[in-house]
């Protein structure tokens, strides 16, 4: 129900427009921004190559966060639930890929079946199989969680569902930490293909030979960086297509807008919610595999902080918005990498949450968020 606010004679317009001392807050923000820009600019001039290196690292981190943030933003957009377990599904994804590589040698099955295949094709098919298996397990897990834990609480107070989500998250972390499941140790990850590092400088792109450091003033990156960026952008495009152009996408948008009205229109809301969980978790699993390949170490609590930061990224970009999740994740990645480079490594979490608070103070619905409608 839209109310014409301006024509209402009782609205105290004069009171609302009186914003005293607003320059203090603006001045504070400007000072903060100038300080940050000064630090960044100063370092950029001092050592541009190092700065670009940090930006590249931040991009890698940011695109992984984007994969997780997509699931958060979609689930929150539809059921208004902070799915704390999402980060742990990310963890499960990386563990499943680890076991399918070490226990079943799944990344080598094409070579075992067809010995004549070229090596590149074997690597590609094998890695895709590993990723597909992880994604499938994540989907099965997420749909089970949704059916068992969240569905009975659909009509309960939102906070009950949130606490349940925390419980599920704890369960996955500690059940995974049991010795016969994943064990609680830090495990070095066995990559399905060799991570090759390159450096780029004035004379072009060169492969780094093991044992020799890249020349000063060059920027290094690896093949996994390129894969993460490409995959993340492809996923983004795919989801845009799914949400905007397909029937299930229309159903998702309708459910997100008004669940009861969607039900009246003949949409199977439960199915749509399950589908949303499934697709979000599939990409969390994908993110888990890529994260593990890039950072080559896994343990059962690895999902907590990336999960939280991905949620922060989703909020930053405007929750419920897919491009927002990508933009927010890139901002988080940059903030984290630059903080690690120029301030101090442990402060990266602090900076992430400070950015969240500052952005929400200026724009309460996030960067791409639509203004929230009134509580129904």
């Amino acid at each position: 129900m839209q109310q014409a606010v301006t024509s209402d004679p009782l609205t105290p317009v004069a009171y609302k427009s009186k914003k005293r001392l607003s320059w203090v807050g603006k001045g504070f923000l400007i000072l903060l921004a100038v300080g940050v820009l000064f630090i960044l600019g100063d370092n950029l001039i001092k050592n541009p190559a190092l700065f670009v290196q940090y930006v590249v690292d931040g991009l890698q981190l940011g695109f992984v966060y984007a994969l997780i943030a997509l699931g958060y933003t979609m689930v929150y957009g539809i059921v208004k639930l902070i799915n704390f377990a999402h980060g742990d599904i990310f963890m499960v994804g990386s563990f499943i890929s680890f076991f399918s590589i070490t226990e079943f040698n799944m990344h080598l099955w094409p070579a075992a079946l067809f010995p004549d295949l070229p090596k590149l094709l074997v690597v590609i098919i094998g890695t895709l199989t590993v990723i597909a298996v992880s994604m499938l397990v994540c989907v099965a897990l997420a749909v089970t969680i949704e059916k068992v834990a969240y569905k009975p609480l659909r009509d309960a107070p939102r906070i009950a569902a949130l606490i349940t989500a925390i419980g599920v998250s704890f369960f996955l972390e500690y059940f995974g930490a049991l010795y016969f499941v994943f064990s609680s140790r830090f495990i070095p990850y066995k990559q399905p293909f060799d991570v090759v590092a390159y450096y780029i400088n004035g004379s072009g792109i060169h492969q780094i030979v093991a044992g020799t450091p890249p020349p000063v003033g060059s920027i290094t990156f690896s093949n996994i960086f390129v894969i993460i960026v490409v995959v993340s952008i492809l996923v983004q495009i795919f989801l845009q297509f799914l949400v905007r152009r397909t029937k299930i996408g229309v159903a998702m948008r309708a459910t997100s807008y008004d669940k009861n009205a969607a039900r009246l229109m003949g949409i199977n809301v439960d199915q749509v919610v399950s589908f949303t969980f499934a697709i979000g978790s599939a990409f969390a699993g994908l993110g888990g595999v890529l994260y593990a390949i890039a950072y080559s170490q896994i343990w059962t609590q690895m999902g907590i902080l990336p999960g939280l930061k991905a949620f922060v990224a989703a909020v930053l970009g405007g929750i419920g918005s897919l491009p927002g999740a990508l933009v927010g994740a890139l901002i988080m990645g940059q903030a984290e990498a630059l903080t690690m480079g120029y301030i101090s490594t442990p402060m990266r979490d602090a900076v992430a949450f400070t950015i969240l608070i500052v952005v929400l103070l200026i724009r309460p619905t996030g960067i791409f968020g639509e203004p929230e409608k009134e509580k129904a």
């Binding site: 005293r20 001392l21 939280l308 949450f353 969240l356």
Partner: protein, 455 residues
């Protein structure tokens, strides 16, 4: 057998609190005081008496008791914020940690001939409190200042007053430090009685410190809305944890030793102090909830818009509740630090920040009785009973504990989402209603005049 004893212990503790709260509900003040003294004495006797090998509450139980007392304070604070005011906060653990480190640092330095801990925190808390109060009053007169501007004003004032406090503390220190002596040769100001006083001051100051930090933090964060508020407070816990882990490098407090943990804190907390602070927290909170402010707090939980329409300043109300809740958490932290004697950042990691939340939910949102029984039951169950039950599992036992406890949480959420006790309250904690005054309605003069004309 041990399991049976553990169950009996939990039942006895619940019965103990039932009795204590009943006695405190008595109309005569002398019976109340007597009841409290007897309640204190019973546990003290159980702790100190020994019959051969058997002790009713042994050293392990003593530890659990202290832990449960601090947990109750923290959880009561969270119940005030979340259960009574409806603000979903995960930052309680961060304030608990702040209180613990602040109190520990004061007594730690005092024992080592450095009075700066006490005086810097004391002056800082005092001046910052005055500055906040002045600006608060000023802003109440001049409505319409944006939150960000108000926050900037508070921040500048607090930073300035803290700087003054640091200068003053450094001025006072050379005068006092000869009197304090060192840890091997304590001076006159390091006798047992002075130490107890300093301990008391340290805990109060730690509580107020946590409260002031929560004021500064809560002011901008409360404008974000409920879910985002939860995430931002979780972020606060993470930031506090990070700072603790790097307290010797980033913050420069070398005695806190960063991630290695702070050792050598005086173990001053006895059952007396734990009981005293717990009782203070319970009484303050009960009276707050049953006062006019308490009804405002509940009104904000039920419906913010309606509360606003009734003339309640919703923003200030939420903020004040948040500050009081953090005050309790800070006090709890101080008590904990002086019981355990060793502070490690791992204790205050954000995974544990869900513990008070789970206790509050188990006990029932908006039920003080529920929180008290749940936190005692939780501590004894998790640490005592579950440890006994799972001891056959060896090194895997702690992990199994955390596997079973989310399952219990899930079952509770599915079967009884309002908590084990719902909103039931015992004895002293029951909502009191003011006796309604009989108001004599006198007919107004106009009505009388009208009547006269008519007649």
């Amino acid at each position: 057998m041990e399991i049976f004893i553990s169950i009996v212990k939990i039942a006895l503790i619940i019965a103990y609190f039932y009795g204590l709260l009943k006695v405190m509900d008595h109309s005569s003040i002398w019976v109340k005081i007597l009841g409290i003294v007897v309640a204190f004495g019973i546990v003290q006797l159980a702790l100190s008496l020994q019959f051969g090998d058997f002790q009713v509450l042994n050293a392990f139980d003593n530890g659990l008791l202290m832990q449960a007392c601090t947990m109750t304070m923290v959880a009561l604070g969270l119940n005030l914020i979340y259960g009574f005011n409806g603000q979903f906060s995960l930052g309680q653990w961060g304030f608990y940690g702040l209180g613990a480190y602040c109190a520990a640092d004061i007594t730690f330095r005092w024992a080592r001939g450095d009075s700066r801990g006490l005086f810097v925190v004391g002056f800082g808390v005092l001046f910052a409190g005055l500055a906040i109060w002045t600006i608060f009053k000023m802003l109440e007169k001049n409505r319409g200042v944006p939150v960000l501007s108000a926050f900037t004003l508070y921040l500048v004032a607090v930073v300035a007053s803290s700087a003054v406090a640091v200068v003053l503390g450094n001025l006072v220190n050379p005068v006092l430090s000869p009197l304090l002596g060192t840890i091997s040769e304590p001076g006159i100001l390091n006798s047992q009685i002075v130490k107890e006083i300093i301990f008391f001051l340290a805990i109060v100051l730690a509580g107020i410190f946590a409260a002031e930090v929560s004021f500064l933090f809560g002011l901008p964060v409360f404008t974000l809305g409920s879910d985002y508020f939860g995430i931002a407070t979780l972020g606060f816990s993470i930031v506090v944890y990070t700072l603790m882990n790097n307290s010797d490098t980033i913050l420069g407090f070398t005695e806190m030793k960063g991630g290695r943990g702070m050792i050598g804190i005086e173990k001053t907390t006895t059952w007396f102090w734990a009981f005293f602070f717990l009782l203070v927290v319970i009484i303050v909170m009960r009276n707050l909830i049953n006062s006019g402010i308490g009804r405002m707090i509940k009104a904000v939980r039920e419906d913010e818009t309606a509360a606003l329409a009734m003339g309640i300043n919703v923003a200030n109300n939420k903020l004040i509740v948040f500050v009081i809740g953090s005050l309790f958490a800070g006090i709890g932290g101080g008590v904990y630090a002086h019981y355990i004697g060793f502070l490690s950042p791992g204790t205050f990691s954000f995974i544990n920040s869900f513990n008070p939340l789970i206790i509050v939910v188990f006990g029932g949102l908006g039920s003080m009785t529920g929180t008290i029984t749940a936190s005692f039951g939780w501590t004894f169950f998790l640490e005592g009973l579950l440890r006994n039950l799972l001891s056959g599992l060896g090194t895997e036992a702690p992990t199994w504990r955390f596997v079973l406890y989310p399952i219990a949480l899930l079952l509770l959420m599915l079967l009884r989402p309002q908590g084990l006790l719902g909103t039931a309250e015992w004895g002293f904690l029951k909502t009191t209603f003011l006796k309604s005054k009989k108001i004599k309605i006198e007919p107004s003069e106009a009505a009388l005049a009208g009547k006269g004309e008519a007649g």
